[in-house]
Amino acid sequence: MGGSGDMYNPRIIVVDDDLAIIKFLRANLQAEGYEILVALDGEKALQTIEKELPDLVILDITLPRMDGFEICRRLREWSQIPIIMLTARGEAEDKVRCLNLGADDYITKPFAANELLARVRAVLRRVQVTDLTPQQPSFRYENIEVNFVQRQVLVSGNEVKLTPTEYQLLQELVLNAGKVLTHTYLLNKVWGPEYQGEKDYLHVFIRRLRHKIEYKPAEPKFIITVPAVGYKFIN
């Protein structure tokens, strides 16, 4: 089974101080063929991620000394690694806060093993180069350039670092430039069918994208909101 079946198994780091949860995550993820790293606190987590460069971080919010929010913020300073956050608080503002800080997904404790595995698969899927490589090798509009082969985005010639999810979302938008893409379509296409109701994700990621490519994120020129319907990339 496994997420890839390619030449190597994706490596996942689990950051939590609850040993029972670690055991639970490890057992299930290993059964899926993933390789597991463990960190019990934030500092160790940051060190391990820097050294081992895993493919995914599963990060608990409540940690001693440095909390999950802080770890997430620090990671995003240099890394586009996908992050799934875990929390036992289950408050709506936590979710938005996680996504705003650059996390890719969010799960509230308690959760079932299948639920977690589905999310892990969905996030990893976004990282992998899709088979449907676009016809044209790149897209260009004004000062924005997207190179589909290298998965690289340039704004006025400078490279902009996007997380895999952000890149997938932008690619979907520019490939359909000029067309209005509905919320459901985008969620389905970028995140996966299990995310269809999660409009929060879409809003947060659109905002994150705008911050990275627009001159004035508050008055977007490229990624246009079509109220109550969805978004489109200007043509």
Partner: protein, 602 residues
């Protein structure tokens, strides 16, 4: 109808001028009455209306007299006129007093007023009954003076009484108004000038008339002059709003203030007090004239005041549940000499209450915030073991993976442990809430701390098996009155912490000793120690230095908080000393005799 004697040209002009003046006076009188009537509810207005009415009668009588041709007619109308001139002096006097706001002297139609009216009343009777006694005048006959046909009389003694009485009343009234002119405020001065002009014109005329200072026809013109008074008062009314801001307003304002105002002279005697002050101090009107010492005896508000400087202070009278703010303000005259002082008492009971309520609301809000925080913490703590239970249960239920027997057993064991942990958390939360609400039931009895120590050591032997447990205690210790079960709970919690925080094989020392009136118990380990910054928060709820301690499940985050609650409810204290890498020492003290401990059961 009437004839003029000696109709010289100038006489005719004078005659018509006089008639016209009289008619004009009557019209002005009526007009002024009308104006005053529209303001009849202001102070002094009623007396003014009566004065104006008297002038009207006086003028009317004299006017009709001047147009009469027979002696009887003339006498009759003059007598009518005298009716007005008898009413005027007391009414004018009353007006001047009211206007100058000396209400204590005269106000409305009280007995003092009646007294003033007795003499004019008697004199009026004498005037009308003159024919029988001739005390007023005698030998009346018609004569001509200039253009007029006049009645000439020889005045009797009572007439002069009338003159003296009337003029002294009017003079007194004028003096009162004059006084107001010089002591009043600027606005009042303009009013007073108007009034004074009105008052003194008739006077000047009268002096001229009585002493024949101007060669003029001998004809009474006083009522005409009084009508000039009317004009002056009209000006006062319209231009200077005579009745709108009469000086009385000051007094009225002070009387209607909610703040108490007392005026003292330099001998600390009360010279004035408004009703609010009397009410606040629970004093009567008779307070006026009393000395400060007497007032302090009756009401303690004035204790310890210094009337020579401006002072503002709060005075609370707990027995009366009132709070006052007392201001003392020295009063000076124009030469900067202190002539007395004012005391202003402001009732701040409501303000104080409002402040107290605001504090209470703030405390409630804080409590509410704490509760919300607590709830968030509790739900987090409950969800954590629940997450493991749910996680492993769902793992075992996975159909896409086969787990071997060993794995299955491991998962089930974890579910079992986590369920126990969840149960412990719930127990701790219940204990915590009992401590919070004061519902922690203690069953105290006289116990020896050493017995409690022994039983706990036995109970925890499975836990401490890998440690070296040392008990240091004297052979004898006084009995303490405590709940053995709860103190045992504190001890096991501390020992449990020590075990978790130190290496296997290391020493754990339990020490009990008598220190003063307390028994001190301490649990020390040679473990990892606690960061200094963590020490102050250590006894807070849900504060955990580390959830994971060397691979073992940590506590609930409530243990030490509960220990503190239990020790404190026994009247004791709990504290910690620690050094990183060297170990920690938790101690608590219990009073040998705790007088206030309550047994809530039985």
């Amino acid at each position: 109808m009437w004839r003029l004697v000696k109709r010289g040209k100038s006489s005719i002009v004078y005659y018509y001028l006089y008639q016209a003046a009289m008619v004009l006076s009557l019209i002005i009188c009526l007009f002024t009455i009308f104006l005053a009537w529209s303001r009849r509810n202001t102070y002094g207005a009623k007396a003014m209306i009566i004065s104006l009415f008297a002038i009207f009668i006086w003028t009317l009588g004299f006017f009709l007299e001047s147009r009469s041709t027979t002696l009887e007619q003339q006498l009759f109308f003059v007598n009518i006129g005298y009716l007005g001139s008898m009413i005027l002096p007391p009414a004018f006097f009353a007006f001047s007093i009211n206007y100058s706001n000396n209400t204590r002297i005269l106000w409305g139609f009280n007995w003092k007023m009646v007294l003033l009216c007795i003499l004019p009343f008697a004199l009026t009777i004498l005037i009308w009954t003159n024919n029988w006694h001739h005390l007023m005048w005698s030998n009346e006959h018609l004569s001509t003076s200039g253009p007029f046909l006049i009645t000439v009389k020889t005045y009797g003694p009572m007439f002069w009484v009338t003159v003296i009485y009337s003029y002294s009343l009017i003079l007194s009234g004028s003096i009162v108004i004059l006084w107001r002119l010089f002591v009043g405020r600027r606005v009042y001065r303009k009013q007073s000038i108007a009034v004074i002009i009105g008052v003194f014109l008739p006077w000047i005329w009268n002096i001229i008339y009585i002493f024949h200072l101007v060669p003029m026809p001998r004809k009474e013109l006083t009522p005409v002059m009084f009508s000039i008074t009317c004009i002056a008062l009209v000006v006062g009314l319209l231009r200077f709003q005579l009745f709108n801001i009469v000086p009385f307003a000051h007094k009225s304002v002070i009387n209607h203030l909610n703040d108490g105002v007392l005026a003292f002279n330099t001998h600390d005697r009360v010279v004035d007090a408004n009703p609010a002050a009397l009410k606040m101090l629970r004093l009567s009107e008779s307070t006026i004239g009393k000395k400060l010492e007497d007032i302090i005896l009756m009401s303690p508000v004035f204790k310890n005041i210094n009337p020579t400087v401006y002072e503002r202070k709060e005075v609370s009278l707990p027995e009366e549940k009132y709070s006052y703010e007392l201001e003392t303000i020295p009063m000076y005259d124009d030469t900067k000499r202190q002539v007395g002082w004012l005391a202003i008492i402001h009732d701040i009971t409501d303000r104080k209450k409002a402040v107290e309520q605001a504090h209470e609301t703030e405390a409630l809000k804080k409590l509410d915030r704490l509760r919300t925080e607590l709830l968030a913490n509790v739900s987090h703590e409950l969800r954590t073991p629940l997450a493991s239970i749910k996680g492993f249960a769902s793992t075992l239920l996975r159909t896409d993976t086969k787990w071997n027997e060993e794995q299955k057993r491991d998962f089930l064991k974890t579910i079992d442990e986590e369920a126990d942990h969840l149960n412990r958390i719930i127990g701790d939360i219940l204990d915590m809430s009992r401590i919070d609400t004061g519902a922690l039931k203690l069953n105290p009895e006289f116990t020896n701390i050493l017995e409690i120590l022994d039983s706990i050591r036995l109970k925890l032997s499975h836990l401490t098996i890998h440690h070296n447990l040392i008990v240091k205690a004297p052979d004898w210790l006084p009995l303490i009155y405590v709940d053995s079960m709860r103190i045992g709970q504190v001890l096991s919690n501390l020992i449990d912490n020590a075990v978790k925080n130190s290496l296997e094989g290391s020493d754990i020392v339990i020490e009990a000793q008598l220190v003063g009136d307390d028994i001190n118990v301490s649990v020390s380990d040679n473990g990892i120690g606690i960061y200094p910054e963590a020490l102050p928060k250590l006894f807070d709820r849900f504060y955990q230095v580390d959830r994971v301690v060397r691979g073992k499940r940590g506590g609930t985050g409530l243990g030490l908080s509960i220990c503190r609650g239990i020790v404190q409810s026994h009247g004791g204290k709990i504290w910690v000393e620690s050094e990183i890498g060297k170990g920690s020492k938790f101690s608590f003290s219990l009073p040998v005799r705790h007088p206030t401990i309550q047994s809530k059961t039985k």
